[in-house]
């Protein structure tokens, strides 16, 4: 009988590069920046790492295929290094690989590291990709904001919300993240933006404007994990452990049958339910201390609040407008600024979410520190609303 992942693995060190338009740094520099911080934090020698999982998503820029770029950049000698890729949830997959390796008992200490160098494309937004030979034959060739803007279409139709009210609510989602990100020295965008500017920005994909979209940035993040026992033997006192790690993918049902109404993400709900069960959380709105969600676009974050069971179906607009997810609200969300301010270097994002959760749980978040957080939820999302990869991790103190 499977017992789940709860408290079997502790994080003993984390690192995160400065995110941004890192014209000065290649992937290898970003990897080293995140890795150096993580290993110093863990207080171990590099040779104590027995296996590594490396997340990178886009082959055409960044580093190319395989885990060799990570093994080479970090000079990881003679250990298994595995590259993982699961669209925008790639960073979470790297963490999952390392955590499962430790939990299985196969290794004592493992590294999860992810990087993406998006600013080598020459233009804004994510690089243009093929969807595979068959899908390219029939699937529209669209941008990421446009795929996610369909959620707004579905949400407005289901709840009868006007475009104006929706624009104000999702605008406030972005406004709140900018307020938070302004306090984070590692964020790409450290600037507050007033709500009217956000609402009136040029349209990228109807109804999403420029400020409804996350930044496009370079960055890397890393985690070093081991068992709680070994962590203690290394002298760690306050332990952040993995309470849940769940992943759920679309089977095609939303995209190919009439079941789904387009107003939410099916697998967010499935992964959340499993994660709460694994972590033993009954009432997420009350029990969770903070959320780091995949706000690739403002509408995604707002809808995710309902998918996570934090807001009632159709109730996210009110919660957002009431400030429930603000830094001083009932359940702070994107306290580090989120993808909105960090941008979305794909291989790193899931680990960057874990990094902020780790800092907050250990009381090391400086100006952004929340009061006594106990459970942090990270939600990392890949694909499009109609066909997606939903990764949910819950971190907490042991």
């Amino acid at each position: 009988m499977a017992t789940g992942i709860k408290d079997k693995v502790a994080i003993i060190g984390m690192g995160c590069s400065k995110f941004g338009e890192r014209w000065d740094a290649g992937s290898e520099h970003l990897l080293l920046e995140a890795f150096s911080e993580a290993i110093q934090d863990a207080g171990i020698e590099k040779k104590q790492i027995e296996a590594a999982w490396f997340g990178s998503c886009i082959d055409v820029v960044n580093v190319g295929n395989s885990a060799l770029p990570a093994a080479t950049a970090l000079r990881l000698e003679g250990i298994p290094v595995t590259r993982v890729e699961n669209m925008c949830a790639t960073g979470s997959e790297a963490l999952r690989g390392a955590v499962y390796a430790v939990a299985s008992g196969a290794v004592d200490i493992a590294l999860a590291i992810g990087v993406e160098k998006l600013k080598d494309t020459g233009y804004g937004g994510l690089p243009v990709r093929t969807k595979g030979t068959l899908n390219d034959m029939w699937m529209p060739w669209t941008s990421a904001p446009a795929s996610f803007s369909l959620l707004a279409s579905g949400y407005m139709a289901k709840y009868g919300i006007s475009r104006e009210d929706l624009k104000r609510a999702i605008g406030r989602v972005s406004w709140k993240s900018h307020v938070n990100g302004a306090k984070n020295p590692k964020a790409h965008i450290q600037k507050e933006v007033d709500l009217e500017t956000i609402i009136n920005a040029p349209i990228i994909a109807e109804p999403l404007g420029l400020f409804d979209c996350c930044g496009v940035s370079d960055g890397a993040a890393a985690a070093i994990v081991t068992t709680p026992e070994i962590a203690r033997s290394l002298g760690k006192k306050d332990l952040v452990t993995i309470k849940a790690l769940q992943l759920s993918l679309s089977s095609g049902r939303e995209a190919s049958t009439a079941e789904w109404d387009g107003s939410y993400m099916v697998n967010n709900r499935i992964a959340a339910a499993k994660a709460y069960k694994e972590a033993g959380i009954k009432d997420p709105r009350k029990e969770l201390s903070m959320l780091e969600v995949h706000d690739c676009f403002s509408i995604t974050e707002m809808v995710t609040m309902e998918d996570l069971g934090v807001s009632e179906p159709g109730g996210a607009v009110k919660d957002v407008m009431d400030g429930f997810f603000d830094a001083d609200g009932g359940l702070p969300c994107q306290i580090d600024g989120g993808l909105k301010c960090f941008g979305h270097p794909i291989g790193a994002t899931g680990l960057r979410m874990a990094y902020e959760s780790y800092l907050q749980l250990l009381g090391r978040a400086g100006e952004r520190q929340l009061e006594n957080p106990t459970y942090a939820l990270c939600h990392n999302l890949g694909g499009s609303p109609h066909t997606h990869v939903a990764a949910i991790s819950i971190l907490g103190l042991l």
Binding site: T133, P140, T142, A146, S153, A205, E206, G252, T257
Partner: protein, 481 residues
């Protein structure tokens, strides 16, 4: 002998209509004389339309799903998409025809009418679908740019009776070079219009028509509808006068509404004559170009009952005025706008995959699960609903009613006619497909909008000169009521 007839027809004219005044205005600084031609509109292809997609739409309107009796398909065009890759077979597959003989006819503005005559003369046990489609290109500031239009027509020739019976034809080949275009040249090269009228139309056409009328035993004065594809220069009237055909019989050349659609034009004009003809009316159709073809038809009793699903009238009514001359230049590839780096993506098609999936992609066919009944697209080896691996039943989606489920305008992605509009399309039969929306306005981009499917270019691979086709959804204005 059973009557050999035209049993059905369909016409397609792209809804993009450039105001000729906008073209003339753009060239006024250099060629002010174009103002004389600056009347009405010319039809031009959307970025995702070409002679193949237009022929598919005309054929769909002509066949209305009744493909059973068609045994051969001929595709006539002076602007075929491919030089070596049969255009007729691409069209045939898209309209669900496979067990048919196919042939391309090209190289002449007469290719359409000559193909029709050929179909009449060789009328076999099975019906022939005659397609004529042209996407004509005129050099900026040329007379041809003003005159040319784009359009397609499909006609079914049958031995089983129809709306117009074939009475006979005559042809003549004459080395009268009024214009020409070598394969590597983008534009036609034309001689003086007055010479073409006086030495060409007026001297070449009448003897051929006279031979035909004599052979069939019909007097010129009895011709009720005279179709001749001379867009400008007064050639129609001069030929009619010389032949003794009443001036009122001359069928309008559609210059003001869509322009000269080349190989398709005499047959589109024939379709417009059929829409006005009374039972018993004699219809004379003349095709001109390095010689002459003349065909005589008589409208049958059925002509007044026949309701074309894609009529000339409806195609003309669907026009949308456009004054952005730069759009025409961009769609026709005559100006290379800077679309940014996002447009650099490689659109190479895996021909192996294209062939594997042809049965579902070309005619837009979904699969119905034998176990649970779910209709789905694309057809995968396992049912999306119940995981059954039994072979699915084929369900055509091209004519299936559907609505917009979700929608957006994408201003970020590269698209040759921004914004890219797309969303989830919900078919009434339960299938759901993420699709691009073609020719949709901002007002029409709303959840619940009724849709119909159209065959379009999905992506152009300019690097290799290959277009891949797929279906797009467009507002079904008829269903909107």
């Amino acid at each position: 002998m059973a009557d050999i007839s035209i049993s059905s027809y369909g016409v397609y004219i792209p809804s993009n209509r450039m105001e000729r005044s906008a073209i003339a205005e753009a060239h006024r600084w250099a060629v002010p004389s174009l103002k004389g031609l600056a009347k009405g509109q010319k039809a031009f292809c959307n970025w995702d339309e070409d002679s193949i997609t237009m022929a598919v739409e005309a054929a769909r309107g002509c066949l209305k799903g009744a493909t059973g009796s068609v045994g051969s398909v001929v595709f006539a065009s002076t602007t075929p998409v491919y030089s070596d890759l049969q255009n007729a077979s691409i069209v045939a597959n898209a309209v669900g025809l496979d067990k048919v003989s196919t042939l391309d006819a090209t190289g002449s503005l007469r290719s359409g009418i000559s193909s029709l005559i050929n179909a009449f003369e060789r009328a076999a046990a099975s019906d022939t679908l005659v397609l004529a489609s042209d996407n004509r290109l005129g050099q900026p500031a040329s007379t041809q740019e003003m005159e040319y239009g784009s359009g397609a027509v499909a006609l079914t020739v049958s031995k089983a009776g129809g709306i117009a019976n074939y009475l006979g034809s005559e042809s003549e080949a004459v080395a009268f070079v009024d214009h020409f275009r070598a394969p590597d040249k983008p534009f036609d090269y034309f001689w003086e219009a007055r010479w073409i009228r006086d030495e060409g139309y007026v001297k070449i056409v009448p003897p051929v028509v006279t031979r035909l009328l004599d052979k069939v035993g019909v007097a010129a004065a009895d011709i009720k509808h005279f179709v001749i594809n001379a867009t400008t220069g007064g050639a129609e009237a001069a030929v009619a006068r010389k032949l003794g055909i009443a001036k009122e019989a001359i069928v309008g050349n559609l210059f003001a509404q869509c322009g000269d659609t080349g190989a398709a034009h005499p047959l589109i004009m024939l379709a417009s004559a059929l829409e006005k003809a009374a039972p018993g009316d004699l219809i004379l159709v003349v095709g001109f170009g390095a010689g002459c073809d003349a065909v005589l038809l008589r409208a049958t009793e059925q002509v007044s009952q026949y309701k074309a699903a894609a009529s000339v009238a409806s195609a003309l009514a669907a026009g949308r005025s456009d004054t952005h001359y730069m759009r025409l230049l961009s769609f026709t590839g005559q100006i290379d706008l800077d679309w940014g780096m996002r447009s650099e993506g490689d659109q190479k098609t895996a021909l192996t995959e294209s062939y594997r999936s042809n049965d579902m992609l070309s005619p837009f066919v979904g699969g119905k699960c034998q176990d649970c009944g779910q209709i789905q697209f694309p057809i995968m080896p396992m049912c999306v609903n119940c995981s059954s691996t039994k072979p699915v039943d084929q369900v055509p989606l091209a004519d299936a009613p559907a609505k917009i489920m979700t929608c957006t305008e994408d201003w970020l992605q590269y698209y040759p006619a921004p914004p890219l509009c797309f969303g989830l399309v919900q078919f009434d039969n339960g299938a759901r497909v993420m699709m691009e929306f073609a020719n949709i306005t901002k007002e029409q981009l709303v959840v619940g909008m009724p849709l119909r499917m159209v065959f379009r270019i999905k992506e152009r691979d300019d690097k290799r000169g290959y277009s891949r086709y797929f279906w797009k959804a467009t507002p079904n204005t008829a269903a909107q009521g």
